[in-house]
Amino acid sequence: MSGDLLEFAKPRFDGDRFEGHLLPLEVLPALNAYGDLVLEVARRVVTDQEGSIKVPKGFNQAFELSLKTIGPGSAIPEILLRDSEWSSLVQQAREIVSDTIAAVNAGEELPGGFPLESLSQLEKIGKVLKGSETITFRSPPKRPSIYSLETLETLRQRQKKPTQKVTQVYAGVFGVDFDKKSIGMRLSSGRAVRGRFEPALENLVNIAVARRTWTRLRAEAEALVDSVDGVVGVTEILSGRTVSCSSHELVGPMLDRLNSFFESDAVRTEFGLPARGQRSWGERFLGGLMVENGVPKPHLYPAENGSLRCEWMHNGWDVSMEVSLAEEKAYLHALSLSTNEESDHEVGSAGVAASRAEIAAWLGKYLVLAPEREFAP
């Protein structure tokens, strides 16, 4: 390993056992579990972004977390990450883990980037806690992420919930392993899931993956259904069809233009366009609005502070949306050039399906949203 060591995390252990900056050896499994969990999530992040089932060669070997010192105050071990080409993805995984702990505490839907099969790994972290002890993985001003015994109990309850049943699944396909008959899908919630398919469905899956940028799969499937999150896993696709509210002719040029911004050093530098992860997010967000919500193809421009600007003109309405790629927020504005009527709207967490539906509903007041159509093989 030759990369530098980067400061990665400083989880703070609070409780009687940790006074005097002590970190009893018996709690070290929590740090091991945390490291393993970050790796699992990072593997999911990288496969999602690469649009593949497997992690890139060398990814696992490049992952290295080390423990440095116990910091002042409460027991605060300092975890370092060996720098590699995937460091930013691992840091992204760290934030997903913290977001997941916060979501568990708040009783919310888990972040789409968190693999449900990693819940048991998340549970392991809390097994070392006693009484009122806590581990703080993230502090304000970011959303606090504090692991306590209550978190552990909520996690255990949550894991009991999913039930297996045949249900309808709506998802984008991002990868297929034809040898293993395995398909990678992204649900509308943003959650990436993997399931199997019968050989008889190979043609459907082939078409769905070939058209993945502009269609979605509507399938009947054996799925894991959670009363909180809906479909959280897919065991097997039983039948399905490809559908879209847009077309290759509309989505393709939009994605080409978006990619042209990122491929130009001058544009990237001038407008502060962010790293590859946010680019993928931008593709999914804008593509999703067109394919899943029927929003017309926008005119697309780079905007300041790493934002993208979409503009539409319809029926005298001058409509725009600026999307911050880094913050994943959207600002919408509409002005009637004939009546001077005006409206604006701000949406945080624009990547969440509910927020995207909110954006589409708002845009639908001024633009014509296209209905869903089936695309036969």
Binding site: E304, H333, L335
Partner: protein, 150 residues
């Protein structure tokens, strides 16, 4: 208009001259290629960028031709030059000021004042300016068609 006269560049935080009151005076605004998609002109061409400190650069039409403004802005990869009268700028509740530049010299340089506006107010005004400029079309290069989507 100089190379640093359109969004993404710097102007003084305070206009260097007096308000332009001649309602018929034409103001020239360079349109950037990056903010035109297949000829469709973004409203971003009609508002200052962050580095402009809320002053949108234009050239006075009586001191610069559209072609001269275009040529001064080649570093910004211009695609055309649009025009707005002072009356149209005022119609969008904005004011224009003289702002001659020394280095490089551009006595035609002026600014449209977007200071102290909230985001919604900036959006509204830039869209109104684009709509007014659309009625005049592209002033340079001649014969070049830009689609102002109105």
């Amino acid at each position: 208009m100089s190379d640093d006269a359109t969004p993404g560049s710097s102007s003084s935080a305070v206009p260097r001259g007096a308000e332009i009151t001649d309602a018929e005076r034409l103001l020239l605004r360079v349109l950037r290629e990056i903010w035109c998609e297949m000829g469709a002109v973004s409203a971003q061409n009609f508002r200052p960028a962050g580095q402009d400190q809320d002053l949108m650069s234009v050239d006075r039409g009586d001191k610069s031709s559209p072609a001269e403004s275009f040529d001064r802005s080649v570093a910004l990869r211009p695609v055309g030059v649009a025009g707005l009268t002072v009356a149209e700028v005022r119609g969008a509740s904005l004011k224009a000021f003289d702002d001659p530049e020394d280095a490089p010299p551009n006595p035609a340089h002026a600014v449209v004042d977007f200071r102290n506006l909230k985001r919604k107010e900036q959006e509204r005004r830039s869209k109104l300016l684009r709509a007014r400029a659309a009625q005049r079309g592209c002033l340079h290069p001649s014969g070049f068609v830009l689609q102002f989507p109105c």
